[in-house]
Symmetry: C2
Subunit: 311 residues, 2 copies
């Protein structure tokens, strides 16, 4: 089956399915649109956590045990920074830091985030196209019982402990979707749009908040397939389940599917969960969504593609 | 003997004598004025090589074998940066990088270089006062047979290979000497000013080029003592000897002493060299100036102080 696949992805969980899709497709058949709502500046560096997760997954550099960052990482910089009285709450591995320094420097030279991302992908031998959702800054903020928090303040510094009441994507309204993103979503040979198993609130919805992207998903005749980030009432990683509960939602794949209703054609929940109740206009399927091994990743990617192709 | 000592220092060689002086004096008796003419921006980071050399020497963090940077250094960042196609010509150790990132970030927040330096010294337990010559940018540039070069381009990237014809300290004319530097040089209890065994052209003269500093040395009644950076017709480290030859000077301690004439009262050449010919108004002495061990450093510091005190 030919045709082009566009994947919308956040960080770790999404990056695993992106990796699976990259193993199941030819490089030119896949475009990845990555959330930049949790990008932030730290110690003067521009950090793009989700782009890095996707890039590390695609280049085989991910740390499988830690679940984030680069494998074979060392921490001499952090130890020295702490010794200087520097801000130690955000862990920066020695090799991971190279991404942040190189990216920050290129951005300071006037390069766009998409150009820097393309450059880093090329250096790491990644043939799949990885695109930030926008070159403009969109910043996810959370209204919590501790007030409005920037995403990384909530996510890393406070370890997702505050109760979330509301989210906003600052700058999204004025942001321009990357033209290549809109072009990919309107390709004549579009085979599928895949919403990866990422946190709906802080990974997928910031992408959808960039003007033009949600409309492109609604308008496309290609199937839009979402994969559940919730298995057995829990998120594999990150605060998705906790957030759902705090926002008054049921912590189930079904609630995620309902949140995407009107946008998606297929929702894949985990094989270990009970079949989902019918949702208007959404075909519900089950597949093994745990991606411990590369085989799991390819397996899920193939299940997603089969669903897209109506098989 | 009480009284205050001000040391003017460049990088490695100067930093060793600064360390010796810090071992020979109480912390409150010593102020170090450091060259910032070879500061530069690299990958968006503000790097102050001479300040770092002095700070590492004073905190016991210097790498004795390599002769620059921090001991127990690792290079994971550099390897990763090279893997990303980044600029690899300037070596940034993982722990050294913490200095550059922390300094750059503080500067970007609006802190002055002197405030950041004080902060870093405090974090590393350095009680001696370490001052940049100025908070304003002064940049050493060299006219060479390859044209005008920035200092680090000449020094690191081209490994001092171009022939030097002329030097300039861009920005020096408009720079303000740090008020604490001028205050230290005009203290009533000033015991001595020590010009450390640093490269005269690129380490000491940039300091002297900042308005007010040369005048303060000329005006002070305290003895000004310079220590030779040349031993047996060679510089221990760096391009001082090569530069002297290229600039048409004899490569001797005597030529350095003559260059400082009018400014210094005492010149200390190496014990292994022949006694210097008389120079008008300059008392010439010899002492062991090689500083391999801490004992050597204290020994030279004591010889300098004895000369200052007329002993």
């Amino acid at each position: 089956m030919s045709g082009h696949v566009v994947a919308l992805s956040g960080g770790v969980g999404g990056a695993k399915l992106v990796h699976g899709l990259s193993l199941a497709l030819a490089p030119e058949q896949l475009t990845v649109v990555v959330n930049t709502g949790d990008d932030f500046r730290h110690l003067g560096l521009h950090i793009s956590p989700d782009i890095d997760s996707v890039v590390y997954a695609l280049s085989g550099l991910s740390d499988a045990v830690r679940g984030w960052g680069r494998r074979d990482e060392s921490w001499a910089f952090m130890a020295a920074l702490n010794g200087l009285g520097g801000e130690g709450w955000f862990q920066l591995g020695d090799t991971d830091l190279a991404m942040h320094v190189e990216r920050s420097w290129r951005l300071a030279q006037g390069e766009t985030l998409s150009a820097v991302t393309a450059r880093l992908c090329q250096a790491l031998g990644i043939a799949v196209r990885v695109l930030p959702m926008s070159d403009d800054a969109v910043r996810t903020r959370l209204l919590t019982d501790a007030g409005w928090l920037d995403f990384q303040d909530y996510f890393v510094r406070r370890q997702c402990q505050p109760v979330v009441r509301e989210l906003e994507f600052a700058g999204a309204g004025a942001a321009h979707a990357l033209p290549e993103v809109l072009a990919a979503l309107t390709r004549a040979d579009l085979r599928a749009v895949v919403i990866c198993p990422s946190n709906p609130f802080v990974s997928v919805e910031p992408i959808l908040a960039v003007p033009g992207i949600r409309a492109a998903l609604t308008a496309t005749t290609a199937p839009v397939i979402a994969v559940t980030p919730i298995i057995g009432g829990k998120a594999l990683k990150g605060p998705a389940a906790k957030m759902m509960a705090e926002l008054g939602l049921e912590v189930t794949g079904s609630a995620v599917a309902q949140r995407y209703a009107g946008l998606i054609d297929v929702f894949i929940s985990d094989a270990s969960d009970a079949p989902l109740a019918a949702i208007d206009g959404v075909r519900t399927l089950r597949a093994p969504t745990l991606m411990s091994t590369n085989e799991d990743r390819v397996g899920l990617a193939r299940a997603v593609l089969a669903a897209a192709d109506g098989r």
